[in-house]
Structures are given as C-alpha cells and as structure tokens.
Amino acid sequence: MIDQLLAPFEFEFFRNGLAVATLAGALCGLVGVYVVLKGMSYIGHGLSHAIFGGFAASALLGVNVLLGAGVWGAASALMISGVTRRRVIGADAAIGVITTASFALGIALFAVFGGAGGSFDAALFGSVLGVGSADVWAVAAVWVFALAVVVLRYRALLFTTFDPEVAGVSGVATARVDALLMLVLAASILASMRVLGVTLIAAILVIPATVARMLTSSFAHMLVGATAIGAVCGFVGMNLSYHLDVQSGPTIVLVGATVFAGVFVATRQRGPAGG
C-alpha cells in the first residue's frame, strides 16, 4: 500500500508536478482570500480565460509562453481593473466581454493554425506531463512575489478590501492597491495554469478561501488557513490524479469541493465563524 502511494515519486515529472500543484494551491488559496472577500470571483474566472488567449498566441508565435501569456494577462488584469473602477457599464458585462473575447481568440487561433492539441487540452484542464523544474521555479517566484505583496501591503490591502471608500479618504492609494492585486492575481493564474487548467483555476481561487472563512472570524487566520487548505488540495489532488489517471485540474478541484462540503456540513449549525 505504502509502496503504491510512493511509487510516483520515482518520476521526476511527478515530483515537479507535485511541487507545482502544492505551491499553486497555496498561492491560489492566499490570493483567493482577496478574490472572495472583494466579490471578485467572476474576475478570477474571467481572467484565467483571458490569459488563455495569450497562451495560444504565444504558443503559435513561438514566444516564451510564460512571458507572452504574462504580458497578455497583465494587460487584461489592468483593463478589467480600470473598467470595474469606472462603472460606466456593468462590471460583470465588461469583464464578460473582455475575457470571453480573449478566450475565444485563443480557441480560434488553435483552430486555424492547429498543431497544438496536447498543449490545448493541458491549458484547459491542467496536466502533470511535461512539468519541468523551470515550472517549479516560476511558481515559486510568483509565490514569493505574492507573499511579499501581502506582507508588505497587508493593511492597505485589508483596508481596501473591507472598505475602499474610507480607505481612500484615510490616505490609502486604493487604485494602486487594486492594480497591484490584479497583477498578483494574473501572475498567480499564469503560474498555476499548467497543472490546474484555465477552466478550473477559478475553483481553487474560491474554495480554500471560502472554507477558511467558514472556520475563522479573523482576517489573518483566514489568510493562513486558505493558504494551508490550498496547499493540501494541490498535494492530495495531484497524488489522486496519478493514481486515478485523471487530469490534475479536475482532481485538485474535486478534493477542494470535498473539503468544502465537509466543512460546510460541520459548520452549518453555527453559520460563518463570528456570525
């Protein structure tokens, strides 16, 4: 039994995939706290789809995928941030247009130029195959960047998330803080896309934070809890992915959904912590 569980650790691609999944789960858990509390779940979902357009364009143009999709993702994130702040049209409608158009462009590019069937599926649903040490370093670098932003701008992020209007009049540069958060979100999606897949990444942004919210009434504890839950989902999900021979994205999401259901049932008598 133990031998069976440890068997995949012989393979370097699995060890790399497991490291990326665990780090990506923790990263999405951490960033997801802000996504959930700011009511940005739809932005997270849309942004992951928008980045797919950049991924497709980079793959076909022969540009480094992380670089190309990263520039595309950052541009999409800043555009979404600008549109949601201006409130000229409904934010959900604007995000829907920007992100689904980018996603559609990605699909169209693959359809017209073809030749990338494997990477197409991997981008949509996540895959452990082909994950190399460069991917581990990339997600680790984004993890350090996100952690640095959360630690160094802790109060500004908290104040802007809780009460942006009062934060603004209290001297917090809320537009800059929002833009920084969008860049962290875009970088996190980009780094996690390989193993989680663009269609499923929103779930890992939302589930760990939501579970942590049900367990604590403290913001600081929610950050730590969501990070830990995300890491556990990534680790367990990647192991299950190997043993069940199912793509990594769906298994990680299903592990998260199971944790959510368990905590929801266990806490339903008392409602959200502190409530």
């Binding site: 109060r155 908290l158 009460d163 209290s170 009434s217 403290s218 600081a220």
Partner: protein
C-alpha cells in the same frame, strides 16, 4: 458649519457656492458653509437632500461641478460611514478593524507593541476595551459604531465626519453615542454628523444645518428648527413644540379624516 465669513485661522473647511452633481442631476446647489475648529454640527434633511454628498465633498471624494471646497492645509479628516454600508460578515476582529487606520507601512503585518497599546487605549476610552478579540458582527449596534469611531480616532483627526451615526440604534444607544460625541467634542475634536433624527439627535446638537440641495437654514437648533425652515427643507408641514426648553418637531398630517391624528400629550 455656518454661513458667516471666517478668517483663515478660524476655519477648518469652507465651501463656497458649491454645486455637486451625479451625471446631470444636481445634488448640492450653491452651498456656502464653514466648519470652524471645535464646532459640533448636525446636517439634517430628507432622503436625497445631499447630506452624504456634502460629507463626501468635504472629504474630497466627490468633486465640485462649480464652486470650491477649501480645507486647511494638513487638515486631518476621519470618516465614519453609515453602518448599513458595512459588510458585517467580513472576517475582521475589532482589533484588526481599528488597526486599519494605521496606514503607515511596516515590514511585517502584525501590530507593533506601541500600536497594540494605542488600540487598547482608544478602545478603553470608548468603553469597549474588552471586545478587541470579538468579530465585528458579534457586537451590538452601539458597540459597532464605537469600533468605527475608534478606527477614526486612531488616525488622530481634527475633524470627524459621521454619516447617520444613530441610524437603526435604540434609544439607550443613541443617548450613549450622543454623550460620547459630546465628550470628544469637549476634548477639542470638531464633528459634523448627518442625521434624519430631528428630536433624538439634531435638537441636542449645538449647531444645525438644514439642507435640501441648498442650505435652508443654519444656526442653533432653536433658530433653525422652525415650522417655516422645516417646511422648506422637508416639503411637508411640521409643527415645532417646546418640551423642557428643547424644540420638539411633530408631523402635521393633512390627510383624510379616517387616519387617527397624532396625539400631542408630550407637549407642554
């Protein structure tokens, strides 16, 4: 707040011929007002009269369409929003909420020893010293207001702006809040509150502004809580009685005879 001219040293904020609008609809029209150091003013008026916009114009979050807003250079402002706008399910404890006011950057997210002592001191001062670890939703209406006042005070403001501080609170809590604000004002803090509560709050304040897009009256409650000013402010007939030396405003209902008329047993 009042309409008379001040020397620069006598004022914290001055609005001159201020007109504000959302898109094409004007919300404030030709408003002239001054906030002096140590002043404690209430702004009253019907829903949509521009009370919150007036506060936001002072804060600088709503810009003038015409006219001007002058703030004393370096003026420290703090704002307590309506409690209805607060997300009470947000996972923050009282300590975390109050500490938001410390916007200075630190290399670590947790509070320093000095900051913790400051938070404890301000919570103690407001009578909620033992509630630091509680989630904000676990507090009563009055305690919730005090948390947001504590957050505002931690920023060491010279002028505190509060939007409907007694909205939805019971009589006892309203009395406690009024005492608290009076104490803070006596310690030198200038305060401007908006309120719908003419008898429970406005009549007890030293200075009132009646607002309905324009300033309909400004001065001591005895001078502005008159039938004429109130009718121009609210567009409805009201009667002003006197009870224990204080003005008491009652509706004068001109409707059909099958509606029971208001009793005036409390009147002198």
């Amino acid at each position: 707040m009042n309409g008379r001219p001040h020397r620069e040293g006598d004022r914290l904020v001055e609005l001159r011929q201020l007109t504000c609008a959302y898109r094409s609809a004007p919300v404030l029209v030709d408003v002239d007002l001054t906030v002096a150091p140590g002043q404690f003013s209430g702004v009253v008026g019907p829903s949509g009269s521009g009370k919150t916009t007036l506060l936001k114009a002072v804060l600088g979050t709503v810009g003038p369409r015409s006219g001007s807003v002058w703030r004393r250079p370096g003026l420290a402002l703090a704002y307590v929003p309506q409690v209805e706008t607060v997300d009470w399910s947000f996972p923050v404890t009282v300590d975390e909420c109050v500490l938001m006011a410390r916007t200075t950057r630190r290399l670590v997210p947790w509070a320093s020893r000095d900051e913790r002592a400051e938070v404890a001191e301000v919570l103690e001062r407001l009578g909620i010293g033992e509630l630091g670890d509680r989630h904000i939703r676990q507090l009563s209406g009055g305690q919730q207001q005090r948390v947001f006042i504590a957050r505002a005070l931690l920023a060491r403001p010279q002028l505190l702006l509060m939007d409907e501080p007694t909205s939805g609170v019971d009589v006892k809590t309203r009395h406690e809040l009024l005492h608290l604000l009076n104490d803070l004002n006596a310690q030198g803090l200038s305060i401007v509150v908006t309120t719908h509560d003419l008898n429970g709050l406005a009549a007890h304040l030293p200075h009132l502004v009646c607002l309905n897009q324009r300033v309909m009256g400004a001065g001591a409650p005895r001078d502005v809580l008159t039938a004429d000013v109130l009718e121009r402010t609210y567009g409805a007939e009201m009667e002003v009685l006197e009870h224990g030396g204080m003005p008491v405003v009652v509706d004068r209902y001109p409707g059909p005879s099958n509606v029971v008329p208001l009793r005036r047993s409390a009147a002198t």
